[in-house]
């Protein structure tokens, strides 16, 4: 609470400092500012380009739809442009501070009638940021999806520089980083496990998403805490003009949402729910009584815009997977997040944003049995306060600065017997605590008409706190015969270990001409919390650990170069980026590490280095009847961990040399549109046995190197057609049918290879039981699906 009070005082005093006109001593300047929103729903639009003639300069709306420009008095022509929206031009005469709120019409509302303007978004070329990709949510819905459930994570896995471990998984790997190195935020709250049904689907209900941005590099100083990427997902604010209901039914799940004004144009709400119904079908099958698999997501958001200077929102998410087996075993897991945000405009040039965030991930395993019954709980919670400022002293200079503090609690496991005649005793692993703080400052400067730069630094401080008993081991890396030589009891709040790091960030854009630019970026990222997982795909039963005396923070340095070119009057975007990333203290584990319920997990940690480099090409078309992208990635990631693989470098689990993706949607007519995906990737590395040996009745595999083999290549084609039966302008009722086929040519794409004793299809051992065989597992054959959705 003290921190919050201090922040409020600081915030208020900063308001008076930054209210001073920086140019007052020299020439008088005025500020033009406002919010940009969607005309139909009053939803704020992020990253809208504001272009100022005759200055040939501009600004971009921030993540709250706010823009601010401070200019010399005079007459200007402003052009507002945004992907999928019609451009708006305004003539203004700036002779005082001016507030100009803009409402933009989306292309969709005007159907195909809009002619493509020749001044369409050229932001990919002009913005300083590189390695940043926005996920076109509207297009994701038209693309084919597994079982008809559109999923942004599945689309993200096809973007250049991103790989996946295989289909049916929700983890993604950015530029050679592990799955736990992505900071995934929903309305600024981190989500720790994005998977439903072990990754078949993600927790993001596409119907309520406003935007999703993936940063693979050049990450702003405002963000930190993960090495590889930032995925920032924002939900819709809710229609502030009229009540709207929508829903859909797919092969897998049903969704419904309701949004509308509470006070017209001032306050709005949105509520959304999604539920899978596999369990309801299973209930009808007598043999599967008590067995069921289910997931749900609930999203809610309240928005209140008191006036242009003060806005609040409260956003909450809760989702859960519940798996039951024959009434005697149940496992469930889920995330809960809450975000409260206050946007405050001190004056036209100083924008402040105060955010309180709570995030919780937990899982439970429960077995019902008189003897072997137990309930196992694990969770982690975090409480954050963030105070961010954006200062717009001139159109050539923007400054962002702020403070973030997070208190973390980790409860890696608590087992309580629940049987009357139990063989177990209550056992609880020590909880862990940490305080994570950062101060950041970042500037964006237009040095000349051609050169713009972003630079800044983030100072992060991480403290592993008590209460906890820390053991001293004779040899901390001996996971078999560890000997505890001493133990130290730390009191509540006492600092056990402390880590501080400056994280410099730099980016520059040099405009070659109107349609092309060169970009460069460097960033250092530090990650203080570590996922305790030694599998390729994390599972929901993996917990996290803070950096500690036995676990150093992970660090990464990345440089990237890019060439950006827009073609044919900005209707086509092309980019080429090359990167090199070197990471230190990458967290790995000893061979056969026991990462579940291990009080001495410190003895299983192995940290080392990883290097990755690659080339990413992207060609994208965002306007017109034909939209979509083609991407190609060439990349290599090697990991070197002392004692793992005899200290020799080995390819990372998700290292794929080549990957190619093509995603297209085409509007055939106002009623019909079609979409298709094609994906190709080099098979992921896998460790296969180089021999076997007999021990008793067992035949154990002998391995000679980590990830020495590769699965066969992965490729797949999916298609979909979307039908809008009656798209009348006047009618509010709209409904849409999507028909699709996943894996059109029925490719048996390898998921994994495992080995077993040679046996027939019934499981009877063939031969003397010493023979073994390798089994290739593949997930989805050709799968048709239908989704029906409505809106009114």
């Amino acid at each position: 609470m003290k921190i919050i009070a201090t922040l409020v005082v600081l915030t208020l005093s900063l308001g008076t400092i930054f209210a001073q006109n920086p140019g007052s001593a020299a020439k008088k300047q005025y500020t033009l500012s406002g919010y940009i929103k969607d005309a139909a729903s009053a939803e704020e639009l992020l990253y809208v380009n504001v272009w100022v003639e005759p200055l040939k300069s501009g600004a971009t709306s921030n993540t709250y739809g706010f823009y601010s420009l401070t200019l010399a008095p005079g007459a200007y022509r402003l052009t507002f442009s945004y992907l999928g929206y019609q451009n708006i031009s305004k003539e203004i005469n700036l002779d005082r501070d001016l507030e100009l709120n803009i409402e933009m019409q989306s292309d969709a509302q005007t159907l195909q009638e809009v002619q493509i303007s020749d001044k369409k978004a050229d932001e990919a070329v002009r913005e300083v940021a590189m390695s940043r990709l926005d996920v076109p949510i509207a297009q994701v819905k038209k693309l084919p999806a597994l079982l008809g459930e559109p999923d942004i994570i599945k689309t993200i896995q096809t973007l250049p520089g991103v790989t996946s471990a295989g289909e049916g998984t929700s983890s993604f790997y950015v530029r050679g980083g592990a799955a736990d190195q992505n900071l995934i935020l929903i309305d600024e709250a981190p989500v720790y496990d994005v998977s439903h049904l072990f990754g078949l689907f993600s927790v993001f209900n596409a119907d309520i998403l406003k935007s999703a941005e993936l940063y693979k590099g050049g990450i702003p100083t405002k963000y930190g805490g993960r090495l590889s990427s930032l995925l920032e997902v924002s939900t819709k604010d809710g229609n502030a003009r009229q009540l709207e209901a929508a829903g859909s039914v797919s092969t897998l799940a049903a969704k419904a949402s309701l949004e509308g004004p509470i006070v017209k144009d001032k306050a709005s709400f949105i509520l959304a729910a999604r539920r899978s119904y596999v369990d309801l079908i299973m209930k009808q099958i007598p043999d599967l009584k008590g067995t069921g698999v289910q997931f749900y997501d609930l999203n809610g958001k309240l928005n209140w815009k008191i006036n242009n200077n003060n806005r609040f929102f409260l956003s909450a998410y809760a989702g859960r997977d519940i798996w039951k087996f024959n009434d005697d075993f149940q496992m469930d897991w889920g995330n809960k997040t809450t975000t409260f945000r206050w946007n405050h405009l001190f004056n036209e040039r100083l924008f402040a944003n105060t955010t309180l965030v709570y995030s919780d991930f937990d899982y439970t395993l429960e077995q019902n049995d008189a003897l072997e019954g137990f309930r196992w709980d694990a969770n982690q919670k975090e409480y954050s306060v963030k105070q961010d400022f954006t200062w717009f002293p001139s159109p050539k200079f923007t400054l962002q600065f702020g403070y973030q503090g997070t208190y973390r609690q980790f409860q890696p496991g608590d087992i309580r017997p629940n049987g009357e005649n139990t063989i177990f005793k209550p056992t609880k692993l020590q909880a862990r605590y940490a305080l994570d703080q950062a101060l950041y400052v970042g500037a964006e400067q237009k040095v000349s008409e051609r050169l713009s730069m972003q630079y800044g630094v983030r100072f992060s401080l991480f403290q592993h706190l008590g209460p906890e008993t820390i053991y001293t081991y004779a040899n901390a890396s001996d996971n078999v015969n560890y000997t505890i030589t001493d133990s130290t009891r730390y009191k509540k709040g006492q600092v056990i270990a402390s880590f501080a790091n400056p994280e410099p960030r730099f980016a520059a854009r040099y405009q070659l001409n109107n349609s092309s630019s060169l970009k460069f970026s460097y960033n250092r990222m530090v990650q203080y919390i570590h996922l305790l997982s030694n599998s390729t795909v994390p599972i929901p039963f993996n917990t996290w650990s803070p950096s500690s005396p036995y676990l150093k923070p992970q660090k990464a340095d990345q440089v990237a170069f890019g060439y950006f070119k827009n073609l044919d009057k900005n209707t086509w975007e092309f980019s080429a980026e090359a990167y090199y990333k070197a990471s230190d203290n990458i967290t790995e584990f000893a061979d056969n590490a026991n990462i579940f319920f291990n009080e001495h997990i410190a003895t299983e940690f192995r940290q080392g280095k990883s290097t990755s480099y690659g080339l990413e090409l992207l060609l994208r078309r965002n306007v017109g009847d034909l939209r979509g992208f083609a991407s190609y990635t060439l990349s290599k990631t090697d990991v070197t961990i002392p004692t793992v693989n005899n200290g020799q470098a080995f390819p990372a689990n998700y290292d794929r040399r080549h990957s190619f993706n093509l995603s297209l949607t085409y509007d055939l007519s106002p009623r019909w549109s079609v979409g298709g995906n094609f994906t190709y990737a080099t098979g992921r590395p896998i460790t296969l046995p180089t021999g076997k040996y007999s021990f008793g009745n067992y035949e154990a595999n002998l391995y000679s190197g980590r990830n020495g083999y590769r699965l066969p290549d992965f490729h797949r084609l999916d298609i979909a057609a979307t039908f809008d039966p009656a798209k009348n302008k006047g009618r509010r009722w709209q409904n849409t049918w999507v028909f699709g086929i996943y894996n059109v040519y029925n490719r048996q794409n390898p998921f994994t290879i495992y080995t077993r004793t040679k046996q027939d299809d019934e499981g009877n051992v063939i031969g003397d039981g010493t023979e073994k065989e390798a089994r290739l597992v593949y997930l989805f054959s050709v799968l048709p699906y239908v989704t029906w959705s409505f809106k009114f």
Partner: protein
């Protein structure tokens, strides 16, 4: 947790299809595989030596003959082993391992030396076995006539850190799911009384049920838990990365030299 992972993988397999494939694998020279033990019974103790072989090979493992095998304890007693059958080395004299003593295996074979040590723990103090009819199993037995459940009663000493290996026999035959399941446990989650824990297999009337409980060392527990992970690995997707099993042998050999007391209990299903 490992069982859950396996269940998860099995569940995923419902969605998935699979097929047997031929792997084009690197061929490596065989390494020495040791399967040796010293227990608390006064008897000739046994060490088996064999070689590893290629993954796709058929037939029994090639045995290693002509090795010199000895076991020493930490009281300077030495036991010589003689090759009774090819690859099967038996101590010249019968001896019983003594609780608290450390035993070291020394092997010289094909010009190389190998050693391994393990420590003898105290014997498990089990109570009794009983049996009962499992009515649900009787309705739909997996194996006809086998629907008797045998229950174990045993005390678990809470003051010591213990690790256990279990062997289940039916009429003298070891039943461990045809080499696919290993029954082992650590005691950190167990309370002091195990009352009526059912065997993992069913028995028919007149069957003889036998259990062996070995109180193994932490190293041996690591060996068996790694072996279970090695046998049940899914290719590193949800389970950890496939890896070699821990061994207590030095010199590049694999396998394990197990020193552990065996507690045995038998019961006749006298129906």
């Amino acid at each position: 947790m490992k069982n859950i992972l396996f269940a998860l993988f099995a569940l995923l397999s419902l969605l998935a299809c699979e097929k047997t494939i031929q792997l084009d694998l690197q061929q490596l020279d065989g390494v020495l595989i040791v399967e040796g033990s010293v227990n608390n019974q006064y008897q000739p103790q046994v060490v088996k030596l064999s070689k590893s072989r290629s993954f796709g090979s058929t037939g029994k493992a090639p045995v290693v003959s002509g090795a010199m095998v000895r076991v020493k304890d930490d009281a300077n007693r030495e036991f010589r082993f003689v090759e009774k059958e090819p690859g099967l080395y038996v101590s010249e004299q019968a001896f019983a391992g003594v609780a608290g003593r450390t035993y070291t295996l020394l092997i010289e074979s094909e010009g190389k030396s190998y050693t391994a040590s393990d420590k003898m723990n105290n014997i498990v103090d089990y109570d009794s076995l009983t049996y009962r009819l499992d009515e649900e199993e009787m309705k739909d037995p997996k194996d006809s006539a086998r629907f008797y459940e045998v229950l174990l009663f045993v005390k678990e000493p809470q003051e010591t850190e213990d690790f256990y290996l279990f062997n289940f026999y039916r009429n003298g035959k070891l039943e461990n799911d045809e080499g696919r399941t290993i029954y082992f446990s650590e005691d950190k989650l167990l309370n002091g009384r195990i009352d009526g824990l059912p065997f993992p297999i069913y028995y028919a009337a007149q069957d003889e049920a036998k259990i062996e409980i070995l109180n193994i060392s932490r190293n041996a527990y690591k060996f068996y838990s790694d072996l279970a992970a090695n046998l049940g690995n899914d290719g590193g997707m949800f389970s950890g990365q496939p890896a070699n099993v821990y061994t207590n042998l030095s010199g590049g050999a694999r396998g394990y030299f197990l020193v552990a007391p065996v507690a045995t209990a038998t019961l006749q299903v006298d129906k």
